[in-house]
Amino acid sequence: AGKKQFQIAAIFQTSIEEPWDGAIHQACQKVAKELNLKYEYSEGVAAADFEKVVREYSERGFDFIVGDAFLAGEEPSRRAAKDYPKIAYAFGSEFSPQAPNYSVFDNWIHEPAYLSGVIAGMMTKTNTLGIVAAIPIPEVNRLANAFKKGALSVNPRVKVKITYIGSWFDPPKAKEAAVAMIEGGADYLFAERFGVFEAAKEAKVFAFGNMADQNSLAPDVVVTSCVWDMYPLIRKSVDAIRNGSWSAKNLKDWSMMAAKGSYLASYHGFDAKLPVKVKTAVSDLTKKIMNGSFTVPVIETELVSD
């Protein structure tokens, strides 16, 4: 820091419409506006160009560089971080932080996913739930497993179906996967990906959004959503960098419910529709999670339909 304006750069491998990168982008924008910082980003960065972009920002003297490093970005960003020890880096990554300046984070929203599983487990009439997910990777499996565990915790007879559509973006395919589950009896669906709500709407069943509050996409269908809010993480990081206390850490705690890094979105119209019993169960559990008396298990193995 100093007199110079503080600068944040973000590097995304996909476009910012992708929810994961979108969450980072939104948070950076918000923090930049709030604290009057300079913010620049590069989206759709190809794997082969990742290192170039990291180095370009580093060279230009940005103070804080964030982004998603999964796969292609891991090595390049870590190599660059070694060369610029004065700059703070925080990347979404499945690996550990790298001293002294490279922290990692991830979407730790298994807690709200567990909560939505609880709602689904209590509400289902068919005892069949569905999950439409992208690709079996830890970030995705974690949520799917938490949703299932949550449902089973309140309703042991529940059966959970899951379909991996095999890509990040294919709403028509996600929809077809959802249709198949609905025809198989599922009445509450966890929509890890875009595309599920349309099927739910047509069949008049219910769904849970993921990553952002997606109620507006289908207000009659979306009970609630598991929101990942990167704001606390970015904000706290900027503060730490400014007061010189930045160090390489796993920043996952700042994505947890306790830090308001994730939460269950508002029920919107469903506030009136959900039985009080269900709402109390959720709020009780929320309290326990927040104060640490209950820990949602993290299971990252691939899920198979019951």
């Binding site: 590069s42 794997a47 170039k52 180095r55 090595e75 499945e94 990777i137 095999g166």
Partner: protein, 329 residues
């Protein structure tokens, strides 16, 4: 026969052959200007930042060269195949095949003496890419299956093969993401200039340009491959084993694309992942055509494409123009 008689006596003067690609480039720059203006950008600033981004600094220039290496190789791969009328749209898949093979050697070939690792990566990548191209060539020659479609479809097959490997046997221990173990250090391409990413791949690409030039101009095989491309009936009739010529052409073409994949693994990523190529194989087609199917032309047009690609990233940052315009240009 009738088609031939139409174009029969028509030869373009040589200046037109050179001018045509240049005109095409200008046309694209002008067409590209349209959305820039629409997006509210300053045209002059945009293009000057493009040039600056591609060539303006040592860093940028070297990055442009880094990107040019795979593009030269895929461009060569396509041009060599097209010259023999083997419509290889499958350089992308062949690139993946080469990358997979290089990774396999780089990760599991620990028993090899270290000086042999890089050559082993290169050779296996070449062969893997080549075989992946020989398959459609075989279908074309023996079963008369259209090569445009098979090569295109095999790209998708290869993507899924890679998906299968990266979620299965080749997945790095401890990771659930589709990535392989890193390759060993001995498999890393040497860096040509300190503090840069410029690597052996560029040398390989340039050697290949010269090699293909030599093959085309001076060898029996290059001559046969040209004849097969111009008139396969006449070549067959004259005793040229046309099937064999096409198969060999495919092997070399796919091998070149495979080398591009080796370079991406051994010099850029150091492990295998799904997004190893941002469409280098497809860009190779455009590069080959723009380069008039001549190896030197291919090298130049690959460099040009690399400039555009690298430069437009800078352009979008500096002139405030969305990065998707890169695709437009």
């Amino acid at each position: 026969m009738v088609g031939l008689s139409i174009v029969r006596r028509q030869t373009l003067p040589p200046w037109a052959e050179i001018l045509l690609p240049v005109a095409a480039i200008f046309a694209t720059l002008i067409i590209g200007a349209l959305p820039i203006v629409l997006a509210g950008g300053n045209l002059f600033k945009a293009y000057s930042s493009l040039v600056y981004g591609a060539l303006g600094t040592r860093f940028n220039l070297l990055e442009t060269l880094v990107k040019a290496s795979p593009l030269i190789l895929t461009g060569l791969a396509v041009s060599f195949a097209f010259r023999a009328r083997f419509w290889n749209i499958g350089a992308e898949g062949q690139l993946f095949a080469g990358a997979i093979a290089a990774t396999a050697v780089g990760v599991y070939g620990t028993a090899l003496p270290s000086w042999l690792v890089i050559p082993a990566c290169i050779v296996s990548g070449f062969i893997a890419g080549g075989l992946w191209a020989v398959l459609p060539a075989f279908l074309k020659t023996k079963l008369k299956v259209d090569d445009v479609v098979t090569t295109l479809l095999l790209n998708y097959v290869m993507i899924h093969v890679m998906g299968f490997l990266l979620y299965g046997p080749m997945q790095a221990a401890g990771s659930s993401w589709p990535r392989s173990e890193p390759i060993m250090d001995a498999a890393h391409y040497p860096i040509l200039l300190p503090r840069s990413r410029l690597h052996l791949g560029l040398v390989i690409a340039i050697v290949m340009v010269l090699a293909i030039w030599f093959i085309n101009a001076r060898t029996v095989f290059g001559y046969r491959s040209k004849c097969v491309g111009v008139n396969i009936n006449a070549a067959h009739f004259s005793g040229v084993n046309t099937d064999m010529t096409i198969l060999k052409t495919a092997l070399i073409s796919g091998g070149l694309a495979g080398l591009a994949g080796v370079g991406e693994v051994c010099a850029i990523h150091y492990h295998l992942l799904m997004d190893i190529s941002p469409g280098y194989g497809y860009t190779g087609i455009v590069i080959a055509m723009l380069g008039n199917l001549h190896p030197v032309g291919v090298a130049l047009s690959a460099f040009f494409f690399s400039c555009i690609s690298i430069g437009s990233q800078t352009m979008s940052r500096m002139a405030g123009i969305p990065v998707y315009i890169e695709g437009v240009i």
